[in-house]
């Protein structure tokens, strides 16, 4: 009689342990796979490459931006002409920022022409991000290259891109 009772108790104990272990495995899987992958660094890199491709192709600056040493009037439609769309129905605020600064080689201290598109609030966060990496802030990328216009005038082009989308990339 006693043996039967203890056998029942042991079965109950095993059931509790198996449930506990299954619950633990569920929590582990939920915690690990529930967290999103942070791919914003790659996104900002791709954005910078896309902007660079639009600004200069085969070594020459896009004539819609600078033509014959003069800033073109078409530069206002930079995003449209580069096939970029920073606004999305998913987000209330814009989640991207792109800044392109042109410097003439003769005057590298003062910018010749600037294009700033997207959410400019991110610039300050990019400055903080430079010293130490904070996941909750925007991910930024900076790069510069050399290009010439139609008249072979020389320019240094600096590009800054930033991607926020924190809610979708960081838990």
């Amino acid at each position: 009689m006693l043996n039967k009772k203890s056998g029942k108790l042991l079965s109950l104990y095993w059931f509790a342990i198996i449930t506990l272990t299954a619950g633990g495995v569920f929590v582990m899987v939920y915690l690990f796979y529930g967290a999103p992958y942070d791919v914003r660094e790659i996104e900002s890199h791709i954005l910078m490459n896309q902007v660079a491709d639009c600004v200069s192709y085969l070594g020459r600056i896009n004539p819609d931006l600078i033509s014959g040493g003069v800033v073109s009037s078409n530069s206002e439609n930079f995003l449209e002409s580069c096939h970029l769309n920073f606004s999305s129905i998913e987000w209330e605020r814009e989640q991207f920022y792109a800044e392109v600064t042109f410097y003439q080689l003769a005057d590298l201290d003062n910018s010749f022409f600037e294009i700033k598109k997207g959410n400019s609030d991110f610039v300050s966060e990019c400055n903080i991000q430079g010293k130490e990496k904070y996941n909750n802030l925007v991910q930024c990328r900076e790069g510069s290259f050399y290009s010439v216009d139609e008249l072979n005038n020389q320019y240094i082009i600096k590009i800054l891109t930033a991607v926020r989308k924190t809610e979708k990339n960081v838990k």
């Binding site: 633990g24 690990f32 942070d38 660094e41 790659i42 010439v148």
Partner: protein, 80 residues
Amino acid sequence: MLNKKAQIGHTLTWVLATIIIIFVLLIFIFASAGLSKIKFIGVGELKSGLNEESSILEEKTNIAYELNNANKEIIKEAIK
């Protein structure tokens, strides 16, 4: 009396086993929580052409040198 002692020993073994199981589970749960915080895919982890730091910009500069390579040293310094 002897039977009671054996029963106590038996129970203690199971209690200890339960504590160890819970402890191991908790360690794994905390480890997976910690690992979930570092789920990051950077440019370096990609096997595509993106993995070379700013290689497209370097390529663009080199192509532009073919068109006009005057003041190369100043340009190199400026884009560093």
